[in-house]
Amino acid sequence: MSSASVQIIQAVMLLLFAPLAAGFISTCKARLQNRRGAGVLQPWRNLRKLFKKEVVMAHHASWVFRFAPYIVFTATLMAASVVPALLVDTPLSLTADVIALVALLALARFFLALAGMDIGTAFGGMGASREMTFSALAEPAMLMSIFVLSLSAHSTNLTTMITHTINTPFALHPSLAFAMVAMVMIAVAENGRIPIDNPTTHLELTMIHEAMILEYSGRHLALLEWAAMVKLLLFSTLIVDLFMPWGMTAQADLTGVAIALGLWMVKVAGLLFVLALFETSMAKLRLFEVPEYLSGAFVISFLGLLSYYMLEVGA
């Protein structure tokens, strides 16, 4: 199998498994709360229903509102196809490094925020304002974690970083531990999960992501929800790639890819279960405690940097 075909399989896999991942999380949460839950396939059913429904737009919605779902969806999908999940060295991984990946997601967020402002309701403006503010405050922590990761691998290219982690013998690196904690905290913030935002809330004043997409219907809403699910799976894959990449295959042969696929599913499922556990046991933070959470993530990643220089370079 050529690496190009594995690349395509990877991208399609991330796209198709994303609703499944979202369903897995909600089922875990349901079981933890002593409920049955709607089933792992429910997000699939929701998307299918939404795609069939008619779209209704406000009279004064502009082309920004109309085309934002497509831009958000394609930017997120493009970012997802750049992240290697099964094969370490894919053709597209040279297209964008980690920083460009973050920028693609920022492009999606920009248009989502504009779409929120377009209709001129207070809810859309509120969602846009909060989303852009908190994602701006999350950027320094994200960059600092990436910096700590790139220090030992001397690169921001995902393939190089994964190869470096696989090839170095296992050792306890405090800097990587700190970077992982910071990255997980940022991933929770970026995807709008508890404790930053409640993805299942119906109270408008507590919404951040939902408030921006309040006016959407039909296939547009389906694209936006699917993009959010792909983003969650993308972040999970990224964390698995950067911190626990063992099992990913270097050659594009069938057995290697199959094993990598199995291991990837196990690792991502574990990560998502831990997320469900945290979501069940914590309450959403008050809005103005979120900057403290984000600066805490920055402090932890900066500690990772300091412990790299203090403990790992001197030795």
């Binding site: 405090p174 900057p291 600066s295 402090v299 203090m310 001197g314 030795a315």
Partner: protein, 225 residues
């Protein structure tokens, strides 16, 4: 266990020590501060045990046990009793807001790293990397004492400084002589007991345990006389 693994464990514990010092500064609730303080005690015990194993130093095992009992269990229990009986308001009240404190803490850590770097190079011990972290933890404990309004949190800051000094001792000289260690431990224990007694007395006289209120009361007392 190989020497490299022991070295890495010590480094890992040093990093966790730094994390606990930061966490002490970041907490909002009094009981969380106590929990992190107890955690720091456990961490110290573990570090002492590992270093004892690595250097075959019997005395350090005893130090580890004392750290576990005193700092990990007895002191937190005493302080929790004091907090309960005094009905202290459960929130930590800092002088500057949380983000500012964090930035200053980062600056202090960077400063201690800068200062200790040349000294670290001259040491041959397995724990030399942790000297900078130990210095940083001492300074962070002092920072905690400076930036808190409640007397109890200032005492915990003082105890955190003592913890960090213990850690520094393990790092710099592979533990202090046992006699010194036992002496210091009992001094700290007596200090904690006396603090507890004093808190009762202060509380009865001033109706509050906030340092500023005590100050104000004293000033007014001078005015009356």
């Amino acid at each position: 266990m190989s020497a490299i693994l022991i070295q890495q464990l010590v480094d890992g514990f040093a990093a966790l020590m730094l994390l606990t010092s930061f966490a002490l500064l970041a907490q909002h609730r009094m009981l969380s501060v106590l929990h992190w303080f107890a955690g720091q005690g456990l961490l110290l015990a573990a570090t002492a045990a590992i270093v004892a194993y690595g250097t075959d130093n019997e005395e350090l095992y005893i130090s580890a046990l004392m750290a576990l009992l005193l700092k990990g269990m007895l002191l937190p229990w005493l302080l929790r009793r004091v907090i309960r009986q005094l009905h202290v308001h459960r929130e930590v009240e800092p002088l500057m807001n949380s983000s500012m404190t964090m930035l200053v803490a980062l600056g202090v850590t960077l400063f201690s790293f800068h200062i200790i770097q040349p000294i670290e190079k001259t040491s041959l011990l397995m724990t030399r990397d942790s000297m900078a972290i130990a210095t940083a933890c001492v300074l962070l404990g002092m920072l905690m004492m400076i930036t808190r309004k409640k007397a109890i949190t200032q005492v915990i800051g003082f105890l955190a400084v003592e913890n960090a000094l213990f850690f520094a001792a393990i790092g710099a000289t592979n533990g202090m002589p046992l006699v010194v260690e036992i002496g210091i431990a009992f001094d700290v224990l007596i200090a904690a007991l006396i603090f507890g007694l004093f808190f009762f007395q202060i509380r009865t006289t001033f109706d509050s345990l906030e340092v500023d209120t005590m100050n104000a009361h004293l000033i007014h007392k001078d005015d009356d006389e």
